[in-house]
C-alpha cells in the first residue's frame, strides 16, 4: 500500500486518521475525568472494583426491571396530629399469675413450647420480679393519613385510581386512602411504648395471633407467609432466648424461623447494664420483628414498638427535669404502674410506598410459592392505596411517603420550651439527614414544582426553607453521650437512635420564637434507592432537596425546669493496650453478589447459616478464629464494607460497642467529620461504601448464640447476617 500525501495542508490521510484517533482517545480520557470519575466518586465507586460494580449495576437495572409504584399524593399534609404513644400498662400480678402458663424462672417457662428457661432471672441479679406486659401480634388496619389523596403517575400527573373491587376512577379524582393491612404489636403501628427503668426488669409475653383475621383483611403479598414472628429488643443487653435472633431460634426454642401462630415467648429484659457498669446504661431501645428471611416485610408491615429506658439512679435520667441531669421531661406516674413523660417524645420514622394498582408485583418470593393467592406476577388494582412492598429488590427498598409515628406528614404543636426527642429510623433502608428549617411560603408538592420519577420521593418540598434552629444531641444508640453536641444536621441510619434537645423558645440567631411560628423537620438527604444516597450534606448537597417531614407549630409558653447539661455519662474506658489487640481481632467483610435465589449477600464469602458460627477472615496474627467469645471477655471486631457502592448500617447484637478505628484512623479521641458520634457507644456501625471500622466490645453476663447483620432489612433478609456465640 502506498503512502498517500494530501496536497491540502501537507498532511497525509493516514496522519489525519492517527490524529483523529488520538483525539478521540483524548476526549474519552477527558470525559472519564470530568464526568465518569465524579459520578463514580459520588457513589463510592471510583475504585478499581467500583467501575465493575457500576457496570454490573447498570446491567442489572437493564435486565431486572424493578417497577415501584408512585404513591398517591397526599393533598393536605401537615394536618394530622403527630401520634405520641402513651405508655403501655403492665399486666397486674393477679392476672398473669392466673394464666395457664404463667411466666416464671422455672424450666419450660420461657415459651409456649415449654422447652426453654430464662438464663438469668431477675432475682439472680438482685432485682425485683419483672413487671409483666402482654403484647399480642395481631392483624389489623392502619391509616397513614386522613387527608384526601390524588393518584399520580411517575411524571407527577394525575392518573386513574381503583377501589377494592377493582373499579377504576378517572384521573384527577380525589380519593380517601383505603386502610392498609398491618401486622402490629397489639394491632397498632407503631406498637405500644414501654417506658422502662433500669433496676426494674420487664417481661413481655409476645403472643402470636396472626392466624386470626376476624375482619377478613387481605394480607396482600408480604409479611412472613407462615405468620411467624420473632421479637428483638434492639439493642437490649439480653439473654439469647429473649433476644429474638434467628441464630438462637433455629437451634433452640422454636427451632424454627420464628414463633408460629398461637405460640408465645416471654422475653425477659433485665434492664440491667452490661457488666452492671453504670457507664453501659442506655436510653432508647425499640423492639421489632426479627423473623429469619422476613424481618423486612414484617417490620414494614408494622411490627415496631418503642422502649425508652430511664435511669432512676440518683434521679439522673428518670424523666423528671427537676432532678439529675435535668433533661426535658415531666413525669406522671400512672395508677396502673406505668408512667408517662411529657416533653419527651419518641419519633419513629418510616417510609412507605402505596400501591398504584397498575405496577406489576413480581418478586423472587413469588417463585417460592409464598403468596399463591396473589397470583403474581400481576398488577393489583384492588390494593390501590395500600402499602406496597418488594421483598427482594435489587437496590433495597425505599418509600416515597415519609411518616412519623405512623402518620404521614404530621403536625405537632409544641410549647415554647425545650423538648427531648428520641429519633428512631424504623425504615427498611432509608437514611435521613434532618435539619430544622423555617419557610415563608411553606411546602409545595413536588408535582407542582415539576419534579418526576425518583424526585417525587417525599411528595413535598420547601423551596425557600432556611435552617433556623440547631439540635443539641444528648444520646446515640448506646445512651447518653459524655457531653452534648450541637449540630446543624444529623444523619439517621436504619435502626439508629439519636436523641436531641430542641429549644423552641428561640431561633439559632437568638431571636425569640412566637406562638404560631412554624418550623419544619426537614430531610435533606436524597436517597432514590436503597443502595445509598445520591445527595446529602456530606456528598454533593442538593439545595433543592428539602423535604418537610414533621411540622412544629409553636404554642404557648409553659414552665421549663429543664437544662442542657454540660456533662452526662462517661464512656466506659478502653484498655490502654487496645492497640495490642489489633492483630488478633476478628474480621468480617460484607460483600454483594449476584442474583442467586434468596442469597444476595455474603459475609466472609459465606451466606448466613443459622446453624453455625461464622469464621473470621485471617487476621494479622494469621488466625481465622470462629466467631466465639468467652463470657466476660472483650475484643476488637472489624467490620468491612466490601464495596460495590452500597452503604450498610451494620448491627451487632447484645452489647453496644465503641468505634476505635475508622478506615485505619484512630477515632478514640473524637469521631470523624463524617461520623462525629463514633465517639460514643453504639450498636450499629454506619459504613459508607468501602469503609471499615474496628469496634471494641464486651461479651458479658450471658452465654449463647447471637447474630450480627446489616440493618438495611432487604440486606438482612438476603443473607447479610452471621451467627456468633458467647461461650462459658
Amino acid at each position: 500500500m502506498t503512502t498517500e500525501v494530501s496536497d491540502r495542508g501537507g498532511l497525509s490521510r493516514r496522519t489525519l486518521l492517527r490524529v483523529g484517533a488520538l483525539g478521540i482517545a483524548g476526549a474519552a480520557v477527558g470525559a472519564e475525568r470530568k464526568v465518569v470519575a465524579p459520578y463514580l466518586s459520588q457513589r463510592g465507586l471510583n475504585s478499581r472494583d467500583g467501575a465493575f460494580a457500576a457496570s454490573s449495576q447498570v446491567l442489572a437495572d437493564s435486565i431486572i426491571i424493578e417497577n415501584f409504584p408512585t404513591s398517591p399524593l397526599i393533598l393536605t399534609p401537615f394536618t394530622d396530629t403527630l401520634t405520641i404513644p402513651k405508655a403501655l400498662a403492665p399486666v397486674p400480678q393477679s392476672v398473669y399469675s392466673s394464666w395457664a402458663q404463667p411466666p416464671g424462672p422455672g424450666p419450660g417457662q420461657q415459651n409456649s413450647l415449654q422447652n426453654e428457661r430464662h438464663q438469668i432471672w431477675s432475682s439472680d441479679i438482685g432485682s425485683p420480679d419483672p413487671i409483666v406486659y402482654k403484647i399480642d401480634i395481631l392483624v389489623n388496619t392502619h391509616a397513614f393519613t386522613s387527608s384526601q389523596v390524588m393518584a399520580i403517575n411517575k411524571n407527577g400527573r394525575p392518573t386513574v385510581s381503583f377501589d377494592a373491587s377493582g373499579k377504576s376512577y378517572r384521573a384527577g379524582t380525589k380519593r380517601t386512602l383505603p386502610l392498609s393491612t398491618i401486622y402490629g404489636f397489639n394491632g397498632t403501628f407503631p406498637g405500644p411504648k414501654i417506658n422502662a427503668e433500669y433496676g426494674k426488669p420487664v417481661l413481655v409475653r409476645f403472643e402470636n395471633h396472626l392466624d386470626e383475621n376476624p375482619m377478613n383483611l387481605d394480607r396482600q403479598d408480604f409479611g412472613a407467609p407462615d405468620w411467624s414472628f420473632l421479637t428483638h429488643l434492639h439493642n437490649g443487653h439480653t439473654a439469647p432466648e429473649s433476644d429474638g435472633n434467628p441464630h438462637y431460634s433455629m437451634i433452640s426454642g422454636p427451632k424454627y424461623m420464628g414463633y408460629r401462630p398461637q405460640q408465645f415467648v416471654d422475653n425477659l429484659y433485665l434492664n440491667w447494664p452490661a457488666g452492671n457498669d453504670e457507664r453501659e446504661k442506655q436510653s432508647f431501645f425499640w423492639f421489632h420483628d426479627h423473623r429469619m428471611d422476613h424481618t423486612g416485610s414484617n417490620v414494614y408491615k408494622g411490627l415496631v414498638g418503642l422502649y425508652p429506658i430511664y435511669d432512676p439512679t440518683n434521679g439522673m435520667d428518670m424523666g423528671d427535669e427537676r432532678q439529675g441531669l435535668r433533661l426535658p421531661g415531666v413525669r406522671t406516674d400512672n395508677a396502673d404502674g406505668s408512667f408517662d413523660v411529657d416533653y419527651d417524645v419518641p419519633l419513629a420514622f418510616y417510609d412507605c410506598r402505596l400501591d398504584d394498582g397498575v405496577t406489576v408485583h413480581n418478586d423472587m418470593h413469588d417463585a417460592m410459592g409464598e403468596f399463591p393467592d396473589a397470583k403474581n406476577p400481576g398488577a393489583h388494582p384492588e390494593w390501590w392505596g395500600k402499602t406496597f412492598f418488594k421483598h427482594y429488590p435489587s437496590h433495597g427498598f425505599v418509600g416515597d411517603i415519609f411518616t412519623v409515628n405512623g402518620t404521614a406528614y404530621p403536625v405537632m404543636e409544641v410549647k415554647r420550651r425545650k423538648y427531648r426527642f428520641r429519633f428512631l429510623d424504623a425504615s427498611v433502608a432509608r437514611i435521613y439527614e434532618f435539619k430544622l428549617m423555617s419557610s415563608t411560603n411553606g411546602p409545595k408538592s413536588s408535582t407542582s414544582l415539576g419534579y418526576s420519577g425518583d424526585e417525587l420521593e417525599g411528595q413535598y418540598r420547601i423551596p425557600d426553607a432556611q435552617q433556623c434552629m440547631k439540635f443539641t444531641q444528648i444520646a446515640s444508640d448506646g445512651g447518653l453521650l459524655p457531653f452534648p453536641i450541637v449540630r446543624d444536621s444529623f444523619e439517621l441510619w436504619p435502626a439508629k437512635r439519636r436523641e436531641f434537645v430542641i429549644d423552641f423558645t428561640q431561633y439559632q440567631d437568638g431571636s425569640p420564637t412566637s406562638p404560631g411560628d412554624v418550623i419544619y423537620l426537614t430531610d435533606v438527604m436524597k436517597m432514590p434507592t436503597g443502595r445509598m444516597w445520591s445527595n446529602s450534606s456530606r456528598f454533593s448537597p442538593d439545595p433543592n432537596y428539602k423535604v418537610p417531614v414533621l411540622k412544629f407549630v409553636i404554642g404557648d409558653i409553659v414552665p421549663d425546669d429543664s437544662q442542657i447539661p454540660t456533662k452526662m455519662r462517661d464512656l466506659p474506658p478502653l484498655p490502654s493496650n487496645w492497640k495490642t489487640m489489633l492483630d488478633n481481632r476478628m474480621i468480617f467483610e460484607v460483600e454483594h453478589g449476584g442474583s442467586t435465589g434468596e442469597t444476595q449477600w455474603l459475609i466472609n464469602g459465606i451466606p448466613f447459616n443459622p446453624a453455625v458460627d461464622a469464621t473470621s477472615l485471617k487476621n494479622k496474627a494469621g488466625k481465622t478464629p470462629l466467631a466465639q467469645q468467652r463470657k466476660g471477655s472483650f475484643n476488637l471486631w472489624e467490620i468491612r464494607n466490601g464495596g460495590g457502592g452500597w452503604v450498610h448500617p451494620f448491627h451487632l447484637h447484645m452489647e453496644e460497642h465503641r468505634t476505635v478505628m475508622r478506615n485505619g484512623q484512630d477515632v478514640t479521641g473524637g469521631g470523624t467529620t463524617a461520623h462525629p458520634d463514633d465517639y460514643s457507644r453504639e450498636d450499629l456501625a454506619a459504613l459508607d461504601p468501602g469503609e471499615a471500622v474496628i469496634v471494641y466490645r464486651g461479651f458479658r453476663d450471658f452465654i449463647g448464640p447471637y447474630v450480627a447483620h446489616c440493618h438495611n432489612l432487604a440486606h438482612e433478609d438476603h443473607a447479610m447476617m452471621f451467627g456468633w456465640e458467647i461461650t462459658p
Binding site: 457496570s55 446491567l59 417460592m368 410459592g369 409464598e370 454483594h592 464469602g605 459465606i606
Partner: protein, 387 residues
C-alpha cells in the same frame, strides 16, 4: 539468515516503494499488530464478562472484580490471539499478504471484530453457564439449610436465575460487538488505515534458531512446547498430591522434571537422538496410560485402590498436551528424513499451534486451583460446600 526457497513467499512492497531484496523471505507473524488487537479485545470483552457476573453471576465469584478481570482476561488472551491469527490467515488467503484495497481492509477488520466477539461471547456464555451451575448448587444447599420453601421453589428459582442470566448475556452481547468494533476501528486508524497481516521479521527463528529450519524443526518445536506445557500442569498439582498421597506428589515432581529435561535436550541438537525422542514419547504415553487406568478402573495402589478418580479439567488438558507430544514424538521417530525435506509450516500456522498450546495450558493451570489462577472460584466454592 538462509532462505528456504520451498517456503510460501510473497513480494512485499515496502512503504518506500522498494520491492525487494526481501522478496523470497518466509513471511512471519506481525506480533506488534496481532497482540494489541487481541489484548484490546480480550480485556474489553473481559470487562463485560465480569459485569455480567457482577449483575447475575454466582455470588462467590463476584468478589474483587478488578482482580478477576485482569486474571481471567489474561487467561483468555491466548484464545483471542488464536482468533486474530485465524483471521489473518484467512485474510491472507482471500486478499493476499498485503491488504491493498479498502474493501480488503474493511473486510479483514470486520472479520477481526467477528472473531473477537465470538471469543468474547463464548467466554461470557461459558462463565455464565458455570455461574449458573454454582447458583443451582447453592439454591439446593440453601433450601436444605432453611427448609422454608414450599413445593418446587428451588426449581422455580433456578428458572428465574437462568432467565436473568440469559437476558444478561443477550443484553451484553451487543456491547461486546460494539466494543470490539470501536477498538478495531481505533487501532486500525492509529495505524493510518493499515493492517499488516505479515512481516518479514522472523521471531520464531530468532527465539529458536536451531529448531525452525524445516518441517522437522517445526514438529520438534511443537513437541518442546507440548512437553513444557504438560510439565507446567503436572507441576501445578504437585502440592495437592503431596498433601493427599506423598508418593503421587513425588511422581508428578519427577514427571515434570523429566518433561522439562527432555524438552531441554531437544532444543540444542540439530537432529535429536532417537533416545531423546523415545523418552519424550514415553513421558507422554506413560502418563496417558496411567490417567486412563485411574479414571476407569482406578489405580491398584494408593489411598483409594481400585476406585476410579474424578475427571478434572487440568488432567484433561494434560492429556491433550501429552497426546500432542506423543504424536509429535512418533512423527519425528518414524520419518525424520522425509520431514526435513518437506516445506516448513507457515509462520502463522506455527504460531497458531504454539499459541493453542499456550491457551490450553493456561486453562489447565487456571483449573488446577492455584490461588493466583483461581479462575473457577474453587477455593471459595469449597468453603461454601463445607456448610
Amino acid at each position: 539468515m538462509s532462505i528456504d526457497s520451498s517456503l510460501p513467499t510473497a513480494s512485499i512492497e515496502s512503504t518506500s516503494g522498494r520491492p525487494a531484496a526481501i522478496q523470497q523471505r518466509r513471511l512471519a507473524v506481525p506480533w506488534t499488530t496481532v497482540l494489541p488487537l487481541a489484548a484490546a479485545m480480550a480485556y474489553a470483552d473481559g470487562f463485560w464478562m465480569i459485569s455480567v457476573r457482577g449483575a447475575v453471576g454466582s455470588i462467590e465469584r463476584t468478589q474483587t472484580p478488578f482482580g478477576s478481570w485482569w486474571r481471567e482476561s489474561t487467561l483468555v488472551l491466548p484464545v483471542v490471539v488464536l482468533a486474530v491469527l485465524g483471521v489473518f490467515m484467512l485474510a491472507m488467503r482471500w486478499f493476499g499478504p498485503v491488504l491493498r484495497t479498502p474493501k480488503a481492509l474493511v473486510g479483514t477488520a470486520l472479520m477481526l471484530v467477528a472473531a473477537g466477539s465470538v471469543v468474547g461471547l463464548a467466554d461470557i456464555v461459558l462463565n455464565s453457564a458455570y455461574d449458573y451451575h454454582l447458583q443451582s448448587q447453592q439454591l439446593r444447599v440453601m433450601e436444605t439449610m432453611r427448609g422454608a420453601c414450599s413445593g418446587n421453589c428451588a426449581v422455580a428459582q433456578q428458572h428465574l436465575t437462568l432467565v436473568a442470566t440469559a437476558r444478561a448475556v443477550v443484553y451484553e452481547s451487543r456491547w461486546v460487538v460494539l466494543t470490539n468494533l470501536v477498538l478495531v476501528a481505533w487501532l486500525v486508524a492509529m495505524r493510518g488505515a493499515r493492517l499488516k497481516l505479515s512481516t518479514t521479521r522472523r521471531s520464531f527463528e530468532r527465539l529458536a534458531p536451531r529448531l525452525s529450519r524445516n518441517r522437522s524443526g517445526d514438529v520438534r518445536l511443537f513437541l518442546v512446547a507440548a512437553l513444557v506445557a504438560a510439565a507446567a500442569i503436572h507441576a501445578a498439582v504437585i502440592s495437592e498430591h503431596l498433601s493427599e498421597w506423598p508418593a503421587a506428589g513425588w511422581f508428578f515432581l519427577l514427571l515434570s522434571a523429566g518433561e522439562v529435561g527432555v524438552a531441554a535436550a531437544l532444543v540444542p541438537a540439530r537432529a535429536p537422538q532417537r533416545g531423546v525422542l523415545a523418552a519424550a514419547a514415553a513421558l507422554s504415553g506413560g502418563p496417558l496410560v496411567l490417567w486412563l487406568l485411574s479414571r476407569t478402573v482406578g489405580m491398584p495402589f494408593g489411598p483409594d485402590p481400585g476406585v476410579p478418580e474424578a475427571i478434572g479439567l487440568p488432567d484433561c488438558v494434560a492429556c491433550v498436551l501429552e497426546i500432542g507430544a506423543l504424536l509429535a514424538a512418533l512423527v519425528l521417530l518414524r520419518a525424520p528424513a522425509g520431514l526435513s525435506r518437506r516445506p516448513r509450516v507457515s509462520a502463522h500456522g506455527m504460531a497458531v499451534a504454539l499459541v493453542a498450546v499456550l491457551a490450553v495450558t493456561a486453562f489447565g493451570l487456571a483449573a488446577s486451583g492455584l490461588s493466583w489462577f483461581d479462575l473457577f472460584g474453587f477455593a471459595t466454592h469449597s468453603n461454601m460446600s463445607m456448610h
